[in-house]
Amino acid sequence: MSTARLTLFDRFGNGTYALMILCVLAFLYVPIVILVIFSFNDSSSLTLPLSGFTWHWYDKLFSNRDLLRAIGNSFYVASFATVLTLLVGVPAAFALDRLDFIGKRMFRRLILLPLVLPGIITGISMLNLFKLVGIGLSLETVILGHATALLAIVVTQVFARLQRLNRRLEEAAADLGARPWETLYFVVLPNIRSALIGSGLLSFTLSFDEIPVTFFLTGRDNTLPMYIWSTMRRGITPEINAVGTLIVLASLVLIVVSVILLRDERER
């Protein structure tokens, strides 16, 4: 019965377990905590000990026109890249799930390729293309580039969800008098909502901090990561820490929003 068949965890109790979890969390979040702390430190050098609390870097941030414009650009690019990937990716996922066409397997593999391709390749190849057809570089070309690179995320997520969706649900809807568009709107879309929101949010954040593709495809305008990267030549400033803190805050908001949106998807 209760002989000495103790595992390591039994022997050292839950303490070991808790400690391990703490280590993992620390590994993940200590850098972010440091970033946040230094964004409120009233010294321009990033050294300990902390010298005092200040809102100064946030004041400075909100009066830095270049930085604000870069933030605005990033939101513009990420939003439209997300919308574009969803507009192209969702129908593509439906085609993969529903239609039988020649070269379907090939299509499925090819659509995944931009995901594994280094951004630098996507960037250079699209740059060549735009040069070839004579399209000037701008934030819009960045949007196109991001949408290409991120399409695979939307397609794979939505496709995977569609595959798990019970086709009987659609038959039931049709049986109950729903026209095809009503079935799509009232039954299919609500049931793949988590995949739509999830892949949308993922696309948004990936586009928001994307550098390689942006580097090749942007014109005179800069996105936030490009701006941060360019100012890094003068070293990390507490201002950048302040930007980072704001982004962390925005991410938290996004997480909370997605949790709320996906709250009643626990069934099935």
């Binding site: 649900l169 038959e171 039931a172 049986d175 109950l176 008098g177 729903a178 026209r179 998807e265 069934e267």
Partner: protein, 366 residues
């Protein structure tokens, strides 16, 4: 009574070669409870799905209340289906699931609320209206699926193995409940099942299918007592199927010999002396004869050896060997507990009535 469903020479072929439904015609009367019965792969589900409009026949027409609906999509057919896995919308509450079909008809809110309330009350789930399907038990989900299908008052209610996902006790209760619901609503029910007990208990008429065709159509008692073929006899209930031979024919009666006995039976059409036949005899039509029981007046006696006896609680099934080597199953009802059950190896006499024999022509061996 008028014909609500007319299936006219319908054929369905899958993948160019698999014949699922083969030139099948069937008419269903309004208000009937018809069961499509058969083993898996016999085409019964395909037939039901063609009625719903999920599959379209390769040949033939389907008429619903006199209207040809063969080329109409499911959402333009006045039928509703209870799916085998219920197919409840997981993102909607019970009430919203039931309301779904009514909302598609653009009925006004008050009307929808009233009818949803009525339908849920009918299936005994009025208090679960705001639950989600995943919060319900299997039996409750089944009721929601039913309510959702009948709330539109379809011309025909289609049921695709509706009870197969329920456990045995619940299944029996639901059989009775479905039957009562059918009587109460007066709707036409078409149910698919592979469970012969379900079919026997619930249906007005059973359509027994085999290989995409109808093996026999009729009331449950008719199929049970007068099976048209050995297939029907063995699919519905259990039957001892024994090879027989016609010794003589006179006045439309045939003298047949099987398992060491001779019987007079109505001669099958087109039969002649010397021909081989198949006879069927239900295990419960055989009984243990006492020493004083004699053959005569249509009663026959068989001398057999008991090989094995299986205790079923309310009955005992004996496996007996007849002199010719034929195996006969015998069900003895244990109506009195002092009935002695013969042990293995014992010699017993079995009695049966000639009228209980089912005689099959040699050509409907299948």
């Amino acid at each position: 009574m008028s014909k609500i469903v007319e299936i006219d020479a319908v054929t369905k072929i899958y993948g160019g070669s698999v014949l699922a439904v083969d030139d099948l015609s069937l008419a269903i009367e309004e208000g009937e409870f018809v069961t499509l019965l058969g083993p898996s792969g016999c085409g019964k589900t395909t037939l039901l799905r063609m009625l719903a409009g999920f599959e379209s026949p390769d040949r033939g027409r389907i008429r619903l209340a006199g209207e040809d609906v063969t080329d109409r999509p499911p959402y333009r057919r006045d039928v509703n289906m209870v799916f085998q896995d219920y197919a409840l919308f997981p993102h909607l509450s019970v009430a919203k699931n039931v309301a779904f079909g009514l909302e598609r008809q653009r009925l006004d809110r008050a009307e929808i609320a009233r009818r949803v309330g009525d339908a849920l009350a009918l299936v005994g789930l009025a208090d679960k209206a705001e639950r989600r399907p995943h919060e319900l038990s299997g039996g409750q989900r089944q009721r929601v699926a039913l309510a959702r299908a009948i709330v539109r008052r379809p011309k025909v209610l289609l049921l695709d193995e509706p009870l197969s996902a329920l456990d045995a006790n619940l299944r029996e209760a639901m059989q009775v409940e479905l039957k009562h619901l059918h009587e109460k609503l007066g709707l036409t029910f078409v149910m698919v099942t592979h469970d012969q007990t379900e079919a026997l208990v619930m249906s007005d008429r059973i359509v027994l299918m085999k290989d995409g065709r109808i093996a026999q159509v009729g009331a449950p008692a008719e199929l049970y007592n007068n099976p048209a073929t050995p297939y029907v006899a063995s699919f519905i209930g259990t039957s001892n199927l024994l090879p027989a031979r016609i010794s003589a024919i006179a006045d439309g009666r045939a003298l047949i010999a099987f398992s060491g006995t001779r019987c007079h039976v109505p001669a099958p059409t087109g039969s002649a002396a010397g021909q081989n036949l198949m006879v069927g005899l239900r295990p419960e039509k055989l009984r243990l004869a006492t020493a004083t029981d004699m053959a005569g007046e249509g009663r026959q006696i068989l001398d057999v050896t008991v090989e094995e006896s299986l205790f079923h609680g309310n009955s005992v099934r004996l496996r007996c060997a007849a002199p010719g080597g034929d195996i006969l199953l015998v069900d003895c009802q244990l109506t009195q507990s002092q009935v002695t059950i013969p042990a293995g190896g014992a010699s017993v006499r079995l009695a049966f009535n000639e009228a209980d024999l089912n005689v099959f022509g040699a050509d409907d061996r299948t």
